[in-house]
Structures are given as C-alpha cells and as structure tokens.
C-alpha cells in the first residue's frame, strides 16, 4: 500500500491529509500554525500518523503547500496553494470554474479550466478587511469565539450594515452599534455580509464564471455560505466530508500521489523525504530581512546616532 501526505501550512492553521493509492482519505489533522510553522507542520504530521495508526516509514511521499511550504525539511516537494485548490476542487466537482478560498489572513479567487488548471487568480493578503481576520476581530469585540460566529449570526433577525472597510475601524463601529442597543447577532451577521460583499468583488475580478466553490474554514460557517450564495445568486459547492478546510492539503496529496505514480512507472525509486535536492530557503516567509541593509534605514540610523 502506498501512502502519501499533503500538508498545507497556512497563515493561521496548518492542515494535513493522509491518503492511500486508492485515493481514500485515511486521516486528517489540524493545528494552529503559530509563529513557528515548521514546528506546527511536524506536530500535525505526527498527529496524522497517530490517527491513521501508521509510522513514518509507511509514508512514501510528502507534498507541502501554503505560505509555509518551504519551511518543512521532511517534504519531497512543494506546490503553490493555487494549484492545490484548483486540482482538489476539480476532482470533487468537475464543473467548477471559480474557487473562493477565505483564509485566516488572506482571501483568494481562482478561475480554473475543465482540467483544473489555474487560468487567473486574485489575492488579498495585504489587508485584514475581506479575510477571516475581519470576522475574528469582530467576534472578539463581541466576546465570541471563532466557532460561535456562524451559529450566532444565524439567529440574526435584521441586517445591520458594517460600513468600515478596515478591521480596526470596524471595532469603533461595532462598539457604536452595541451602545445603541443593536443585538450582537445582528452585528455579527452584518460583518459576515460585509465580508461576503468583498469576496464577491474579488471573484468578479477573475470573471465570475459558473459554477462556484468555496474552500477554507468558512465552509463550516453556515451563515457565511448562505450570505455568499445570496450575493452570488447561485449555489456554492463545498468539498464533501468536511474537507473544505483541508482542500489545499487534499490537492497537495493528490499531486503527491501522481508524482509517486510517475516515478514507479519510470521504474525509479521513491527517494527518502528531504533528499530531492537542497531544501530551498524561504521565499514567502523571508520577511526577516535585516533592515540595516536598506539605504533609507541606514541613513536614518546615522541621523539617530548624531542626535543621541
């Protein structure tokens, strides 16, 4: 039996899927990415093996995806999350052409063709407005946990508009609404509706071609799904068996198995993890550039020394 693993290291959560050669999902695992994504990825991998009752030696191939894909030393390969989402979604629903993925700190709209190839995408990871963080912040001001968001909003009886774009400014707006006696569930629903509106704009920018699918943790939020469907005027496909949040990891493992298949067909050995060339240095995570190398900053420092 050949087993492969897909690990999707996102900005907020790290997700993993273990799959066998018959494309059956053997186990899924999930943890918060935290500030050390490599540690989170290793921990999620251990959880996954334990759940499936297998050992590291049983796993033939590991493919990583997401922001932290270059930070996993035991991977065989890394694949962008766009490719993974596209492939996983077209596997479940061949008729899907537009995918929306709402993450904790970003949002993506992807247009794909009938073979699951990425044709266009738009991404926002610069601003918390229009990402999961917007809802998390609003929930925090209302004293709710992330899991409460959906059930709470579903109790809303009237829509309150949240007009602030910025998640920080929305705080003042939420406090104002609360002080005028508006129910928290109505405010939560207002935030969901605002986020759905922003998501729709992003989807329009890739062409809004039918049919539509949603990936990410928001697939568990019934209020969000309803709000999006209302804005789209069309149904949204959700990956089956609660795999919505694991869509990226699912795509990664599908691609991993395809790679294994090719290696075996060519009569080549599957190499041990981490042996396929040198582990590349972080790209998306290379935020940690020493600013001293920057001329403007260096000049600023020189001025500071003079002043001091």
């Amino acid at each position: 039996m050949i087993l492969a693993v897909g690990i999707d290291i996102g900005s907020t959560y790290t997700k993993a899927v273990l799959m066998d050669e018959t494309l059956q999902v053997r186990a899924t695992a999930l943890r918060r990415s935290g500030y050390k994504p490599a540690v989170a990825a290793a921990a999620v991998y251990d959880d996954l093996l334990e759940k499936a009752g297998v050992t590291k030696n049983d796993v033939s191939y590991i493919a990583t995806s997401g922001y932290g894909r270059y930070m996993v030393p035991f991977r065989h390969t890394q694949i962008t999350e766009l490719t993974c989402h596209a492939l996983a979604m077209v596997y479940h629903f061949p008729q899907v052409r537009t995918i929306l993925d709402i993450g904790g700190q970003d949002i993506k709209a992807i247009r794909i063709d009938d073979r699951g190839r990425v044709r266009a995408f738009r991404l926002n990871d610069k601003c918390a407005a229009g990402t999961g963080a917007f809802l998390e912040k609003t929930a925090r001001y209302l004293g709710l946990t992330t899991a409460d968001i959906g059930p709470y909003a579903l109790r809303s009886t009237r829509l309150v508009e949240i007009s602030s774009v910025c998640a920080v400014f929305a705080e003042s707006e939420v406090i104002n609404h609360l002080s005028t006696g508006i129910a928290p569930e109505d405010i939560m629903q207002g935030a969901i509706s605002a986020l759905a509106g922003r998501a729709l704009q992003l989807m329009k920018r890739v062409g809004l071609e039918k049919e539509f699918a949603l990936a990410g943790g928001m697939t568990q939020n019934a209020a969000m799904v309803t709000a999006l469907e209302a804005k789209l005027g069309a149904p949204l496909h959700l990956p089956p068996q609660g795999l919505g949040q694991f869509n990226g990891a699912f795509g990664a493992v599908l691609l991993g198995l395809r790679r294994v298949e090719r290696l075996l067909a060519e009569g080549r050995e599957i190499p041990p993890p981490g042996s396929e060339g040198p582990v590349q240095t972080a790209r998306r995570w290379s935020l940690f550039v020493q600013a001293a190398q920057e001329p403007a900053m260096a000049a600023g420092l020189k001025a500071l020394k003079v002043l001091r």
Binding site: K36, A128, V165, F288, A291, A292, G300
Partner: protein
C-alpha cells in the same frame, strides 16, 4: 474677563482647552474616549472648567471639532478638525505651510497657503495603517505602555523591516519577529519606520512645503519625530501642546466670533447647525 472653550472630540481621546480673551491658554484637559461621545465631551468641559477654576457661565463661546463634534450638545458652533488643526498650528508656528497630525485612528496632512488658508488635505480614513493604532498594536504585542515605545525604539541598532501594511497583521508580525529572536527595540524601530514612510507619502500627496508642523498624540514620540525628519528631509515644529492643536484652533475660532462681537445667540438666528 471673558473666556472661550475649544472641545476636540477625537476617535480615541477627547481634548478641551479654555483661552482667555487675549488668547492665552488658561487650562487644558484630555481624557480617553468612552462609548458615549456626548458624555465624554461633557466630562472634558467640566474638567477644563475645574482646572481653570471657572463657572460654565464664564465661557461665552464654545467651538467643537473632531470626529464627534456634532455630539457636543453645548457647542455653539462646529468647525472641521482640518480647519482647527491648521489654525492651532499657525497660532504657534506662523510659518507653518504643512501640518501632519497623527492621531489615534487617523492621520491628516494639511497644506496651508500663504495667507493661512487650507489649500488641500489628505486623510487616511479607510485604513488604520500609518496611524497611532499601529503603535497601539506594538504596545499590545510587547505589553508595554505607549510612552515607552519611542525611547526604546531609539536604542535600536539593527532595525527589522516590517512588511505588513495592515495593523491587524502587524501585531502577528511583531510576535513572529520576537519569536525569531529579534530584540524588541529593533522590531519597534521597524514599526516606527513603517509609520513614518506611510505618513510621508500622505504629506507628499498634499505637497510638502516648509515649515512643517507635526501634531497629534504621536508627535510626543521622539522616535517618530526623528524618523519623520529623516524621511521628509526637513526639520519639524513640534509643540508642547501637540495633542491640543485641534482644541486650541477651535477655541481661536470661538475667540474670532467673540472679538467680532458675535455671540452664540446670534448664530442660532442665522440658522447655524
């Protein structure tokens, strides 16, 4: 002796001043905003009266400004914070042609003409990046009071570049840098640099013309002053009353009316708001 009051109800703090009929600052007060802007305005009014040892009846004219100016029920007239900030800055630094005001939730750049009129202004009212909230995020992540951020940042020797624009994500980024072993002062210097470059681009949108006066709560932060001077390439005027520029400007508008012989009751007849 007659007195005038200026009340500036901002997004995070309410400020009030009382001037005497010669325009001298008699008293000032500042409080953190509560949910109810009207109540905050009332409280700040009582505080400036108390610290000036005056009765409410001694105040002949009150001008309200700021985000919450229409909630100041006792205000005789409302003037936009743009006009008041420009007026306040000119009163102290008559050669001011550009005002940069960095507040708790908004940043304003105001361009002033040679006769003291407002020519242009730019504000970031859609996004909290480049406002005091960015430092608020640093204060939260580092568990350190706002007043200590500037002095600590100035001790930085190897500043970290902050790449996120969004205030919400900045908090995450700070904690990430600290987890990687960067020193708090280096991360803070990066935060200050990020705000300075963002505000400098706001200033350039209205056109940088010397002299530049820096006001608002953030102007009390020495690291911000130093970095902004560096980024803008000009020295900055910083008033000791930096947080009260708007309120002082409002009170000066009140004084104009008093000197012109106009009283609040006249305004009502004119149908002013």
């Amino acid at each position: 002796m007659e007195y005038v009051a200026g009340i500036d109800v901002g997004s995070t703090q309410a400020k009030g001043v009382i001037l005497d009929e010669r325009g001298n600052l008699v008293s000032k007060a500042i409080i953190d905003m509560e949910t109810n802007m009207g109540a905050a305005a009332e409280e700040i009014f009582q505080r400036v009266l108390a610290s000036a040892n005056l009765e409410a009846s001694a105040i002949v004219f009150t001008v309200a400004t700021g985000y919450g100016r229409y909630r100041v029920t006792f205000g005789d007239l409302q003037v936009t914070e743009i006009s008041c900030h420009a007026r306040g800055a000119l009163a102290e630094f008559p050669w001011t042609r550009t005002v940069l005001d960095i507040g708790g939730q908004d940043t304003k750049a105001i361009r002033i003409g040679d006769s003291g009129e407002v020519i242009d202004f730019a504000m970031n009212d859609k996004c909290a990046a480049g406002t005091g909230r960015f430092l608020g995020a640093a204060s939260f992540a580092l568990e350190m009071p706002l007043s200590e951020l500037g002095p600590l940042a100035l001790q930085s020797t190897r500043p970290v570049r902050i790449t996120t624009t969004c205030t919400v994500f900045a908090e995450t980024e700070i904690i990430g840098h600290l987890a990687k072993g960067h020193l708090p002062e280096d991360v803070l210097m990066g935060m200050h640099h990020s705000i300075a470059t963002r505000c400098a681009s706001l200033v350039r949108r209205v056109g940088l013309a010397p002299e530049v006066t820096f006001s608002g709560g953030v102007s009390r932060n020495q690291a911000m002053v130093v970095l902004l001077q560096e980024v803008l390439g000009v020295p900055l005027n910083v008033s000791a009353q930096a947080q009260f520029m708007g309120a002082i400007g409002a009170a000066l508008y009140a004084l104009d009316h008093v000197r012109a012989g106009r009283r609040p009751e006249h305004l009502v007849k004119e149908g002013a708001r």
